[in-house]
């Protein structure tokens, strides 16, 4: 199964019979097979065949990615298991520059002849595309690293944990939810291992072993009398971690507020238990009165606001127009960056791109065109100072090397510019979320992602939360329903007035950020501490049918 198909399934529910809808790629494999990586010497041999074949046909540059993508999903609903699958997609993709143009081809036939043929096909495509080219590719130089490796620093490989243990945990989650009065509960565990090998004519042979995990649930209660129903999703973050993420530790919990929040360990049983109570509160919550509020945004909510309003508009390919037909362009045009004084946000706003942050979804040692990953500023004291680039874009910003933002979701997808982890730095002064709330006169405290929508240049947006609490005179006085905030990106970030300190800093993230045609999915994290935004416009989204 290909990763994007796996991710697609996560969005459509995992009910019913799986097989007739099984995607056309990848295959179910045993757990034992998943724990046996492909021999490193064999990967180097295959890579050299592709590189040599490309060069012999006239490629001036070539890279090859040998990808083995393992996905495991355990899906349950109430007292039953809906799906367990363990699948693999394995193959090789070759990208070349010939006659100044890009070409790409992929194969899952890993014999020498098929690999060479794929490389030759990539060169032929490049030469064909060259006829329609406006200007030749300018590739930023990249030194070869020789034979190197990188691995997500996991403690427990999720693929080594018995399926029965995962089923037991999820069924306990469901049982806990039903004990709390939930009528419907689905819980899922998604696990990904990307075993990626990259080689290029620059002289790099990079072997990487990347792990990600996402436990989640949706709990629903209905009230037949009123005809109302409410849900609450898990407040877990998908993480670049192993199964240790599901081994709770008290020191990784933030308690004392209306919701228990989790750092790099997650207590799914505790969260579902609280969710059952929250849904009762949601069914009785009072409608939010429209108006201006000071928003206190928990990282479990703010991460997606960062993703949509900072992460996407600072992608250089969008700025240049490469995504115009699909994901859109960006209001952060080059002139704003060139001015060196574009006021993106208040002085509180320091946004950092980071491909190395431990536990994050986007953490890798090297990107998918052999660039060593690092960290850089995107917004510094409120001013736009940089974008996210790959090798054939670096010259546009006058950079001598790429920022390492290239990624492909499969061996048969063409790597292109994808978002690094993009995070809001926490404040320097000691401040807890509880203390922040104490100073708010009229506000709303929001947790968790709910409805998110932003325009195609990433300007006007409307966001709502899983949980919205009314703050009055420094105290949380109850729950609001139908509260959504609308703003434009620049006004919103200029209304940022206060950040909690690093002790409150947490990662949120998404497993399936879509971009490109044909579409590709990538996983990325966004960190922040609880943050306050003053005077944001809140609307009431309640409507009646009939």
């Amino acid at each position: 199964m290909r990763r994007r198909d796996f991710l697609y399934m996560t969005g459509v529910g995992l009910g019913a019979s799986m097989v007739p809808n099984m995607p056309a790629f990848g295959k179910i494999i045993s757990v034992e097979e998943s724990l046996t990586p492909v021999d490193l010497a064999l990967k180097k041999k295959m890579a050299d065949i592709a590189l040599n074949a490309a060069k012999s046909k006239g490629a001036t540059y070539a890279d090859v990615r040998i990808g083995r993508y393992l996905n495991q999903v355990v899906a349950t609903r109430e007292t039953r298991v809906e799906n367990i699958s363990n699948s693999e997609s394995y193959g090789l993709g070759v990208r070349v520059i010939a006659n100044g143009s890009w070409g790409f081809a992929a194969t899952n036939n890993m014999d020498d002849a098929s690999i060479a043929k794929a490389a030759e096909a990539a060169v032929a495509i490049a030469k064909g595309n060259a006829k329609l080219m406006e200007e030749p590719v300018q590739l930023a130089p990249q030194k070869g690293f020789g034979e190197v490796s990188w691995k997500t620093p996991i403690e427990i490989n999720t693929f080594e944990v018995p399926i029965a243990d995962k089923v037991d945990l999820l069924l306990k989650v469901n049982s806990e939810a039903m004990k709390g009065g939930a009528k419907y509960i689905s819980s899922n565990l998604f696990m990904i291992n990307e075993q990626k090998y990259f080689a290029s004519t620059d002289g790099s042979y990079i072997d990487q072993d990347i792990h990600r995990i996402w436990p989640t649930f949706t709990l629903t209660k209905t009230d037949a009398g009123s005809g109302k129903f409410e849900t609450r999703n898990a407040l877990s973050a998908p993480m670049g971690m192993g199964f240790e993420y599901l081994k709770p530790k008290d020191e990784e919990k933030i308690k004392g507020g209306p919701v228990t929040m989790y750092k790099k360990r997650y207590d799914i049983l505790e969260d579902v238990s609280e969710a059952a109570v929250h849904v009762d509160e949601k069914l009785k919550a009072k409608p939010a009165a429209p108006g201006k509020y000071d928003l206190v945004l928990d990282p479990s909510h703010l991460f997606l606001t960062i993703h949509e309003s900072v992460g996407h508009p600072t992608e250089l390919d969008r700025v240049l127009g490469y995504e115009a037909n699909y994901a859109g362009t960006s209001f952060l045009t080059l002139d704003k960056w060139e001015s060196k004084k574009f006021n993106f946000g208040s002085k509180e706003v320091n946004i950092i791109a980071d491909k190395l942050e431990t536990g994050s979804l986007g953490a890798v040692g090297y990107d998918d065109e052999g660039v060593k990953c690092g960290q850089w500023d995107i917004i510094k004291d409120g001013i736009l100072v940089n974008y996210q680039t790959i090798r054939d874009q670096a010259h546009i910003l006058g950079l001598k090397e790429s920022q390492g933002c290239c990624y492909a979701d499969s061996w048969d997808s063409i790597q292109f510019q994808r978002m690094p982890n993009v995070s809001l730095a926490p404040g320097n002064a000691a401040l807890s979320a509880a203390d922040m709330v104490k100073n708010v006169e009229k506000g709303i405290y929001m947790f968790g992602r709910n409805s998110y929508s932003i325009d195609q240049q990433r300007y006007n947006f409307q966001f709502s939360a899983q949980l919205a609490y009314e703050i009055k005179d420094g105290k949380i006085v109850g729950m609001f329903k139908d509260a959504a905030y609308q703003a434009n990106t620049q006004e919103f970030w200029n209304s940022c007035v206060q950040r909690c300190d690093k002790s409150d800093y947490r990662l949120g993230g998404t497993f399936s950020d879509g971009k490109g045609q044909p579409g590709q999915a990538s996983a990325v994290s966004h960190g922040s501490a609880t943050t306050r935004f003053n005077g944001v416009n809140v609307i009431n989204t309640g409507r009646k049918l009939g």
Binding site: F229, A324, L545
Partner: protein
């Protein structure tokens, strides 16, 4: 070759079933062959050709089911995938909702395949994209677009003797044309089974015209307006409504079809009287497969008649629970319209807003199906039957259920997305804020 004939597919599936030792075995075989071109800034950025085939096996002992897939087709691989599915079945917990496979069924012969589309080559695609680029280059505009085609087949068989086969073709095209100043943008999107219906030149001219026409957009106040939704815009919103026609979620109180005090809105007037919605896999404009993935025949079904909900979709399991016949949902939803063109609808409008398309639509409230999103790539103010000037994009907060209660007129349906949808004139459509995005 990824596209097998009915006989070739049948032979592989029979062989696989022959290897099965399970109580029940269900097998599916899928293949596709196609290619694409992506372009931006008036130049091709990527192009590809993809050919794949895959076999899926589902084996059941009692109520314990295991599934496996493979993309190798020698006898040893076929035996391996069956064995793996059986091993997984033995390890799986019982599924209390397991339904035994269907016996043989009768299916209508679909009309989803077109030989000319199946014969598309990289050169055909390049030529079609070349026509699109000629429009933007000649007009001094920037185009970004995507052209994709595929031929695909799927076949299913089970150990109770059911067999079904379908072959189809698709070609889809979309292009966004923007002016060099970045102050105007236009968009078109079309999909067909038949290549002859796809005119990338004419479509690109529409997008270019909208790019020029939408430059210099004025701001008008958010509020409730009469809107004319082009079929793509209408489809963007209404497509979100159809999953609510699932009987189970309605019965369980988890859908807009659920009724206060229990029960569902089946049989009730939920929309305006001029709303009629049906699906028909044999419709020549939007043909689709005549069977579901588990082998249920798909037939013409009326979902809404004169605004009354006539049917909800029942899975086999839920149908058995409710003692009714299973009723599969269709991918080809058709909303009946009239004979008026989009231009006719504009002419009959005193004051209103023309919407080309919507963007980033998300559910705000599943209870009311309230959605939010924005207009994009050509939004215009209409007065006295004429387009007067382009306007800035709006964010909307609206429910398709409310919208279909406010239908003033429907035009001639056009294939768009997975539906055949008319342009719609809707009163009191709710825009809540302005966007400066172009």
């Amino acid at each position: 070759m990824a596209i097998l004939s009915k006989e070739e597919a049948q032979a592989i599936l029979k062989k696989v079933i022959g290897f099965s030792k399970a109580d029940h075995c269900e097998v599916s075989l899928n293949g596709s062959d196609g290619g694409n071109i992506r372009y931006a800034r008036n130049a091709v950025s990527t192009a590809g050709q993809i050919s794949t085939m895959s076999l899926g096996v589902s084996s059941t002992f009692g109520k314990k089911t295991g599934a496996a897939t493979i993309n190798e087709f020698d006898d040893a691989s076929l035996q391996k995938v069956v064995k793996r599915a059986e091993e997984l079945a033995m390890l799986a917990p019982e599924n209390p909702e397991f339904m035994p496979p269907l016996g043989p069924q009768t299916f209508a012969e679909s009309n989803t395949y077109n030989a000319k589309t199946a014969a598309m080559t990289p050169d055909t695609r390049a030529e079609m994209v070349g026509k699109s680029l000629s429009v933007s280059k000649t007009a001094g505009l920037d185009a970004a677009g995507f052209l994709e085609n595929s031929t695909r087949f799927n076949a299913i068989m089970n150990s109770k003797g059911l067999f079904a086969y379908n072959k189809g073709t698709d070609v889809s095209f979309s292009v966004t044309v923007r002016n060099k100043q970045g102050t105007g943008s236009g968009y078109v999107e079309q999909g067909f089974n038949d290549l002859d219906k796809m005119d990338t030149l004419a479509l690109s001219k529409i997008a270019a015209s909208k790019a020029n026409g939408s430059a210099g957009a004025k701001a008008i106040e958010p509020g409730k307006y009469t809107v004319i939704l082009e079929p793509l815009a209408a489809s963007d919103i209404i497509g979100n409504m159809f999953r609510g026609f699932d009987a189970r979620s309605a019965d369980e109180g988890r859908s807009f079809m659920s009724k206060k005090g229990g029960g569902t809105h089946l049989g009730e007037q939920l929309f305006s009287e001029n709303v009629n919605i049906y699906s028909d896999p044999m419709n020549t404009e939007i043909p689709s497969s005549t069977f579901t993935s588990e082998g249920l025949p798909v037939k013409r079904t009326q979902w809404v008649e004169k605004g009354v909900v006539k049917n909800l979709s029942y899975s086999r399991y839920w149908a058995a629970q409710k003692n009714v016949q299973p009723l599969p949902f269709s991918r080809s939803m058709i909303i009946e319209g009239g004979t008026q063109s989009l231009e006719d609808l504009i002419k009959s409008t005193e004051k209103g807003i023309l919407v080309t398309r919507f963007w980033y639509i998300r559910s705000v409230d599943p209870q009311t199906l309230l959605l939010t999103g924005l207009t994009r790539d050509g939004t215009f103010y209409i007065e006295n039957g004429e387009i007067k000037f382009p306007i800035k994009n709006f964010r909307f907060n609206e429910s398709p259920v409310i919208m279909l209660n406010n239908v003033e007129a429907l035009g001639k349906p056009v294939r768009t997305g997975s539906g055949l949808i008319p342009p719609m004139k809707i009163r009191d459509f709710t825009f809540t804020s302005l966007s400066d995005a172009i």
